[in-house]
Symmetry: C2
Subunit: 215 residues, 2 copies
Amino acid sequence: MPTSPEPIEPGRTYGGETATDRLARQRRQFLDAGLTLFGSIGYRATTVRLLCKQAGLIDRYFYKNFSDTEELLAAIYTESMDQIQAEVMAALAAALPSGDTEQIVTAGLDTFFKAFENARVARVCWLEVLGVSPRIDALYTRRIEQFTELLISVAQRLLPRWPASSDEAHYIAMALIGGVTQSAAHWLLSGYRAPRKVLVTANALLLRSTMGALG
Amino acid sequence: MPTSPEPIEPGRTYGGETATDRLARQRRQFLDAGLTLFGSIGYRATTVRLLCKQAGLIDRYFYKNFSDTEELLAAIYTESMDQIQAEVMAALAAALPSGDTEQIVTAGLDTFFKAFENARVARVCWLEVLGVSPRIDALYTRRIEQFTELLISVAQRLLPRWPASSDEAHYIAMALIGGVTQSAAHWLLSGYRAPRKVLVTANALLLRSTMGALG
DNA sequence: GCTATTTGACGACAAGCGTCATCAGAAATA
DNA sequence: TATTTCTGATGACGCTTGTCGTCAAATAGC
């Protein structure tokens, strides 16, 4: 009994690419173009026409992949932050067995700030996402919450006496994350004057002393 | 010998107001309208037409007072921050004679967060100013620097062994300010869920433990 | 090789923007 | 009272934006 050998794919191959491959490639081109433009001239100055010119595509394919420049911004932010968060978590996991608090904290912070040495990524993730819309604001807020939870989980591992579910401890962790993120934002805005090492050690002292006071 | 009795004022009185009075009143009306609109629908969604409607004036008087909506934003930001900074400095000065570190820090933080319980002010000062233009970015950066210097000056008073002009101490202070500002921003974005007291005590612990580790 | 699909280039359209000009009426000056 | 200045309302302009339609060339499937 004959069956359709391939899962139904809308459209046909063109230029050696299947329809879904083409869509994915176009999406990637727009993601790259968006990071370039949002991170240089800014989100509000970026138009669909500019995005298409930068991506080397035409507007039809933009609207096939995104409904809106806001949706593109959300996709870029989520992708960038997902990758950075994964890198930080990997660095933490690698340093955790040592048991050395200083080493663990430094490893996480160094990975974090290293990622934001890319000025375009930094600008999009700390400047351009703010104040765009309630939806983007929610994305940003949730991400800060994720980093806060990450910090709390590390603190609970390192410090047995860390308060388990205190409301205040949560806000302290969030303020610590705020210190780190604001450092990154200010690092960008000041043109990366200070070397990364200074940022890392300053924030490491902040984390260490506060966690010591609580743990 | 006859002299002109009044300093030359361009224009004449109208509606019981002198020309400069009228200009000042219009400027204030636009500042208020801008705070209302920038703080609710956002800076990029605010147009000159909307500003005029909100202010109850016509565009001619907008252009007499401001060249641009960006200039209005800068004026609103500067005015708001000037007032808040003055309030914080007054609270610090009032608490300084006590010599009680905890009390001084708490007084400053409480005044700070109290100011940003106004959601419109908070939104303009922490969300809307970011990523608008290099000029506005510079305004924001300088303001953060001012608060950082304020923190350092207080720390030097309270802690005799605080490192005088260490580059790292400067970045630590800035990270602390970042923690405070990010707390304020997140407070707004989370809909002011937590009471102010929690924000104050959490940030007070942050400041106290870190300054203790350095002083 | 024929036909249907996909592509890129180009133009058009309505809507919204900042900005300016006009014009009748209100208010102050002479 | 007559003249000048100021005010508010309205409309128009040039420009840019998002969005869609058209059309010839390129490519795939039969």
